[in-house]
Amino acid sequence: MEVVTEFAGIRRDALHAARAAREAVSPRRRFENLLDRHESRLRRVAYGMLGDAHRVDDVLQEAFLKAYRSLPDRFDNERAEAAWLYRIVHRCCLDELRGRRRRREVAGVIELLAVDDDKDASLVVAGALAQLSERSRAVILLVDLIGLDYDTTALVLRIPRGTVASRLNVARGQLRKALG
């Protein structure tokens, strides 16, 4: 009986190890880990880009599905990983904004109106960002809000590093003005 119990214990350990190994290479587990690392920041970027809290979840879900479908086996480094994921989210945000323009929707009207009432700081910032161009918004969100370096931002936006710097300079000025 004792032997059987020991055998069962060993077997359970082996199964656990096998499952852990399987999970380590499972694309879904890898992607979950990736989201755990980046989702909160991606959410802020998407909100800043869209200015519409109600669309953030849908746009992020679309972006995550696209990312999951094209998840590479591995990334050379963290910068490559971040650039890849932020780029997908950025592109999905631009698609959403384009679609909104086609539908002639007014972005974040509720939020912007609410600014006058409760002066919520987050809404004030979202309202100010909405006054910036998409290019300016993207660069200031990635560098100043999320803290990506210039090189990674250049990879995300596929623009030269110098362009990141100049756009950032303009965007900072515009945001300062918009925030009063």
Partner: protein, 231 residues
């Protein structure tokens, strides 16, 4: 009140955000699988006495842009275990027919990588929209492997009427690693039907070729490594 960019707070994710994400992923998989099955069913015509066009297996990529003339995708997929080791089953044949239980069957030309149960990973067949990967969500994108034999030995060439590999047998059983990289390249003709293509199967940490198929509906050349066995 002094407001800074850092004050921007994103809305929290809605309830079940992640669950919804995976449900959507599964739904997409099911749609691809359903299309796969429909293609297979549509391709199989049981003709009482007369030969019809039939196909046992077909793959649907579901992601080829309308109007595209080539399909080319490489994915790395986890491989099913058979008898304790991961095995990939290679099927490759031109069009052929057989008589069974009083009925004539005509099978369309096809090549694909399958598991032990005949569930497809990747392949292409001479049926509308039957090319690509059957369950792409299980796989990850991979660097393209070469579309040439890459040192593999020519195993056989099958032409019209020959059942080839996997037609009347279990195909070539190839020992692979836990994951294998497959590349499907198909030239798409009218009606979204492949007219020629290649299928490459590679595996190992330092990728090495396992099988390669040069395919047209009338001629199928199969190249195999020593890791493949035909029963």
């Amino acid at each position: 009140m002094s407001v800074e960019l850092e004050d921007l707070v994103a809305p929290p994710p809605r309830e079940r955000f992640r669950e919804e994400l995976w449900e959507r992923a599964q739904l997409q998989d099911r749609r691809v699988a359903r299309r796969w099955r429909l293609v297979a069913i549509a391709a199989m015509v049981i003709a009482g006495g007369a030969l019809g066009t039939a196909g046992v297996l077909a793959f649907s990529s579901g992601d080829n842009a309308a109007g595209a003339t080539t399909y080319d995708r490489t994915l790395s997929c986890p491989m099913a275990v058979q008898g304790g080791v991961p095995v990939a089953r290679l099927s490759a044949h031109a069009r052929y027919s057989f008589f069974n239980n009083g009925q004539n069957f005509s099978m369309v030309a096809f090549t694909g990588v399958l598991d032990k149960n005949g569930q497809g990973y990747a392949g292409l067949g001479a049926v509308r929209a039957s090319y690509g990967f059957a369950m792409p969500s299980l796989c990850t994108a991979a660097k393209a492997v070469p579309l040439r034999p890459s040192g593999l030995k020519l195993y056989d060439v099958y032409t019209n009427g020959q059942a080839g590999l996997g037609g009347m047998d279990n195909g070539a059983q190839c020992f692979v690693g836990a994951r294998a990289t497959m590349r499907v390249h198909a030239n798409i003709g009218r009606n979204d039907t492949p007219v020629s293509g290649q299928l490459a199967l590679w595996t190992g940490k330092k990728l090495h070729p396992v099988a390669f198929v040069q395919w047209t509906p009338k001629r199928v050349a199969v190249y195999l490594s020593d890791d493949c066995h035909v029963q």
